[in-house]
Amino acid sequence: MSSFPASPSIFERKNSSKSVGADNNASFSWLEAWNTFWFTPQDPYTIGLMRLFTGLLIAFITFSYSFDLLAFVGPEGFLDKTSMDELRKENPIFITPPSWFDGPKELDKSVYIWSPYIHLENTTWIWAIHFGVLGANLCMAAGLFTRMTTILSWMGAMFYVQRASSALFGMDAMILILLFYMMLAPGWQAYSLDRLIMKHFKRKAGDKDWDAPAEPLISTNVIARMVQIHFCIIYMAAATSKLQGAAWWNGTALWGVLANYEFNPMHVPAYTAFITFLAKHRLLWEILMTSGCVFTVVLETAFPFLVWHRNTRWLMISGSVLLHLGIALLMGLTTFSLCMMTLVLSFVPPETIKSLTDWLFGGKKEPQNA
């Protein structure tokens, strides 16, 4: 099995190349580092598992529309056809002109949104497309006709987010990120029915290597790296924007989340009893609120830097999982948190995923790729 390119840090790699005399040409070493970072083949297990989780998550998200489908994407829903037409054709985008003295000018009025739900008026067709998308999502999760069903799942998800634009939240952005990358990745290579079918055909054809492990691919690595960079941008943006707020500095921001009746489980008596208990014990409250704020901001700030180092990677990954577990439990944003955890999975080396799934499901040890 090939080693995961992220295992030794990119900085260690660079240093090692210097040690063999490549330091005469700094630009060359940067190019080499770039080349190693992006274009080293990677085993498929991490991306395969991410595809599986993404498929399950998008299937659930699509299914969740079923309870009130026509209110979200129907011609007479919350956003009706008139509003949609206004939104996409009369939504001015203003831009500051190069002169210091002129005010903002209108650049454009139209937005590039697309979805059949914008145009469909026949509810039978709306339901037909909905169930078609759901079917594609389930096939994607199972890894059946993976490439095709992943592309269809991405398209399907776009149909909803572009149409039901007033009913979206952070989770929709995250699942679209996952789907975008999974659509480009060869996600069928591991944990998929496609892989089993391929093996079956090979064995039937008398291929001696029918059970050979999937080859590490450059495209797998490129996509894993893109997910990693994107995740770091998300954390960096979240952290730096939080630092604009006084409540994150004085350690009270977490209260705004924990005591927000509409967002968290304050309707559950045990939860209310817990935060009331906290409120009545100031020192405990201060310690928990401040440490929660510090943990969130420090993790989100440090993650994009420390996750690349072998020694701190697991700390960062564990911290991220812990953060999103907290968000899931305390704010009820379970699907959002699962999306974030699937994104952070991209930092877990494929050999670790393989060992873990072998241990969990008793898979046999595959011979290592050269």
Partner: protein, 389 residues
């Protein structure tokens, strides 16, 4: 090779069917059932061919040149498919042609020599992430203008790509600070003087948590504030207070101890459009009272209600987070069935309708609910409460 595993067979069949669909459109129109079925089938076959080719490519059973050909085939299929849509379906036509261009780019990348391919992929990666960075940085920081460079780069170079792919999020979660939730309360008034309230979101009416969270987003979409404060602020405040005093029973006047931004929240143009649309939705959903099919809607009053976050001190005193005074209603207007605002000059428009409780420890408390008074539910002046303070 198994004929089912020959991507070109699928692709050519798809292209043929999409060509047939285009021909059918000329005779039967875009939306005849036969046209739709032939078009969809053609699209799925072409996509199957493309997908199979990309799978075989990873198995090294297919060359990059063949894959480039398949990408061009898929681009052509999408172009044909996009041309089948009638002008009314402009967004799908635009999507097909946009994806078609992306596939041509894929085909070009595939046939490049290895080094050029790496350079091209690196360029695309940089484009992608610089674009995402402009989406992150072009958002206005609190009380300041956004970066000139970021907004211009976003508007001129990356906007099309990012909005088309829905990658335009700024990821500013819970920043600068976590804020209170926005609710929407609709008071539907029927011709026969009966009325009903409809409030969203409602945990009890949402079958799953995700539905509830989506409803929270629906209400939040009405919470974008207008960019500028009203020029005649003093005048409209006075008008609102005079109207409150003239109202029977009176509606509490707003005094200057409350900040202007807390007293008056005019929504942005976008949010106003949302409110109009929601008014139409509600009028369709609750067209008639449940037991009177001949009675129609007279008007719908809409209130945006901010559910304040209980302070730690209040929770320590065992105050209820659902106490009425925790809700801050703002009047968004009265609407007719078509979603048109009935009186744009209503003196209460966008103003706070405070819900307050008298705070004298020596007297029984009196709850003054300006929302109920304004809505018309409360016809007499507030009296003493029997409950706890």
């Amino acid at each position: 090779m198994n004929p089912y595993l020959k991507p070109w067979n699928w692709m050519l069949a798809g292209i043929f069917l999409l060509g047939a669909c285009l021909a059918l459109v000329q005779f039967a129109g875009s939306f005849a059932t036969a046209t739709i079925i032939v078009g969809l089938l053609g699209f799925f076959l072409a996509l199957a061919g493309f997908s199979l080719g990309s799978t075989l490519l990873t198995q090294k059973a297919f060359s990059t040149f063949q894959m480039a050909g398949l990408s061009l085939g898929m681009a052509f299929s999408l172009f044909l498919g996009g041309s089948c849509f009638s002008p009314a379906w402009d967004t799908m036509s635009m999507a097909s042609h946009g994806l078609s261009l992306a596939l041509i780019l894929v085909a070009i990348c595939l046939v490049l020599p290895p080094l050029a391919k790496k350079i091209a992929i690196s360029g695309l990666i940089l484009f992608h992430f610089i674009g995402i960075s402009t989406a992150v940085t072009s958002l206005e920081p609190p009380g300041a203008a956004p970066s000139y460079i970021a907004t211009n780069l976003w508007a001129y170079c990356f906007r099309h790509y990012l909005t088309f792919m829905y990658l335009n999020n700024a990821y500013h979660f819970y920043s600068p600070e976590p804020g209170p939730a926005t609710l929407l309360w609709f008071r539907i008034q029927y011709d026969d003087a009966s009325f009903r309230w409809f409030k969203i979101p409602n945990r009890k009416e949402s079958p799953i948590t995700m539905h509830y969270q989506r409803m929270l987003s629906v209400t939040e979409s009405t919470n974008m504030a207008a960019a500028n404060n009203p020029e005649n602020w003093e005048e409209i405040l006075q008008k609102r207070n005079l109207a409150g005093l003239a109202h029977m029973p009176q509606i509490t006047p707003l005094n200057r101890t409350i900040s202007q931004s807390s007293m008056y929240r005019e929504p942005s143009e976008h949010s106003k459009r949302m409110v109009n649309s929601y008014a139409r939705y509600i009028s369709r959903k609750f067209q008639h009272p449940q037991d009177k099919p001949n009675v129609n809607i007279d008007h719908i009053k809409i209130y945006k209600v901010t559910h304040g976050i209980i302070t730690v001190q209040d929770l320590a005193r065992d105050y209820d987070p659902l106490d009425k005074t925790m809700f801050y209603p703002y009047f968004l207007g009265s609407f007719d069935k078509t979603g048109k605002m009935i009186d744009p000059n209503d003196p209460f428009l966008y103003f706070l309708l405070p819900i307050t409780r008298s705070n004298n420890p020596n007297e029984p408390s009196v709850l003054t609910d300006s929302l109920e008074i304004h809505a018309g539910d409360q016809k007499v002046a507030p009296t003493q409460e029997g409950g706890k303070k």
